[in-house]
């Protein structure tokens, strides 16, 4: 047993933070929060506080990375040293590099990179405060920053995780649930298209549990998608 592990994760149908198994934490999204960036977004998701900025399409440096037929999309996921309990050493670690990669691949399918050959579209994601689920929060923020920058996209990309704690499938793990739970399954989708752009998983799902968790995560994505659309309407109007 690890230090700090709770005895039970679900008591009387309620999780430790009072949520029901299929309930999201509170999510707040705002776009256009940074002045210099071409597009930006701020997302608060439970205790996560994440900023994303989009620059581009712009000239590619270093030049050899440029592609003659399309823009390159580059994503950088970074955690502030003070975003977590034990100070995180600044700079990219292996986890950040992997998350940057899967974030890029989660967004690439919706961006019309073919419209901007020989350019780069850069997205920077900064985790200011972390409380489980930062990669999903980052993808949500990044997709909003791209939209805010006016980059042509097929759709927004919502992301959400489901998992298993105390043998139960739940949506959107909290930090305690993430640290001591049995499985975590982050998913990102293109709504309305039945396309999964990100799926990762660690832990243990028995036969059947995976399908249940996967469907729950997709439902969570759809809820996030509504919040994303609202945030854009709030900034730019439209019914």
């Amino acid at each position: 047993m690890k230090i700090g592990e709770p005895e039970k994760f679900i008591i009387d149908g309620k999780r430790l933070d009072g949520r029901k198994p299929g309930e999201l934490r509170k999510v707040k999204i705002e776009v256009g929060v940074l002045k210099k960036a071409d597009g930006s977004a701020y997302v608060e998701w439970g205790g996560n506080k994440v900023l994303a900025a989009c620059y581009g399409p712009r000239e590619v440096h270093p030049k050899h990375l440029a592609r003659a037929d399309r823009a390159i999309l580059r994503c950088t996921y970074s955690m502030a040293p003070f975003s977590v309990t034990d100070r995180k050493r600044p700079g990219p670690d292996r986890r950040s590099i992997e998350i940057s990669k899967v974030t890029r691949q989660a967004l690439e399918p919706v961006v019309f990179t073919n419209l901007f050959p020989r350019t780069a579209i850069d997205v920077f994601i900064e985790i200011l405060q972390a409380q489980a689920g930062t990669r999903c929060t980052g993808i949500v923020a990044a997709s909003m920053a791209l939209a805010d920058a006016g980059i042509p996209m097929r759709n927004l990309v919502p992301a959400c995780a489901a998992g298993k704690v105390g043998g139960e499938i739940v949506l959107d793990l909290s930090d305690v649930e993430d640290n001591f739970g049995e499985a975590d399954l982050p998913v990102a989708i293109v709504p309305q298209k039945d396309e999964v752009t990100l799926i990762q998983m660690d832990g243990n799902f028995e036969k059947g549990e995976f399908e249940k968790a996967f469907k729950l995560a997709v439902e969570g994505c759809m809820k996030i998608y509504e919040i994303q659309k609202e945030a854009l309407k709030k900034r730019y109007g439209g019914a």
Partner: protein, 260 residues
């Protein structure tokens, strides 16, 4: 340069798949011939050489004594690292690990760790002070696609023949191995599928890997539980495809498990 060649090849491979054929004439759900040679290194505490077709990966396990993590004072420590050595492919460059190398290490680490196949609680020597540290190092020797499955298979095979070295007065004598085996209680493996156009194939060969739209690696344990998953590539899967591949992975991983 490679990418231009890949673009030209893509049409060819996609059309071939549409007519139900693969570049090397395999069935869509067929592995290339797999060879697992455990115990290939005398210096390592455990080792294995895995060949999947022309892909070759050598995995070595070294044991050391060190401090546990502060939040897990009574558990041993495991670390997985992969090296994409430039001798293995013209596509690999020397220098610090790039994102593909890091992803490979982490996805292989995930299935070993999450399957709990190493009984880390048995690696505790003095709680909070000394535990065994298991270093899993994978070296790619020849790259012809599907490094995930080859490396994961090599890792579990190497772990299963890992024996503790002799310890005298708290010091390890690496030259003398004991008969005591590393406590490994499961045989997790990973299976990787590539989606190219509309078709999905198991165990992509390099040519297929270079043109794939999306990739998914699924790790399972002996019970058939899913322990790890990673989607890659700039394309997408449908929900149905993923559920279908999870079930296929359970089936195909049995073929791999027989080899270790």
């Amino acid at each position: 340069m490679f990418d231009i060649v890949a673009d030209i090849k893509k049409d060819f491979i996609v059309n071939l798949l549409r007519s139900k054929k693969r570049v090397d004439n395999r069935a869509f759900d067929e592995y290339r011939p797999i060879v697992v040679e455990p115990g290939v290194s005398e210096k390592a505490e455990g080792s294995s050489l895995v060949k999947i077709g022309n892909t070759q990966v050598m995995v070595g396990v070294k044991l050391a004594i060190g401090e546990p993590f502060s939040d897990m004072p009574d558990l041993g420590v495991m670390m997985t690292n992969a090296e994409l050595n430039p001798l293995a492919s013209p596509r690999f460059e020397k220098g610090p690990p790039d994102e593909d190398t890091i992803e490979l290490s982490r996805v292989v680490d995930r299935v070993i760790r999450e399957s709990k196949c190493i009984e880390l609680e048995k690696l505790c020597i003095t709680e909070g002070e000394e535990v065994w540290i298991v270093f899993i190092d994978a070296h790619i020797l020849d790259y012809d696609g599907n490094l995930f499955d080859a490396t994961a298979l090599g890792a579990i095979s190497a772990l299963r023949n890992t024996r503790f070295p002799k310890v005298e007065d708290g010091r390890i004598i690496y030259s003398e191995k004991t008969d005591k085996k590393l406590p490994v209680v499961d045989r997790p493996v990973e299976t990787t599928f590539a989606k190219i156009g509309k078709d999905i194939v198991l165990d992509p060969v390099l040519d297929e890997e270079l043109v794939l739209d999306a990739r998914i690696t699924i790790g399972t344990n002996e019970k058939g539980d899913i322990c790890a998953m990673q989607k890659g590539g700039d394309g997408t899967f449908t929900q149905e495809e993923i559920i279908d591949l999870v079930n296929k992975s359970r089936e195909k991983s049995e073929e791999l498990r027989k080899l270790v």
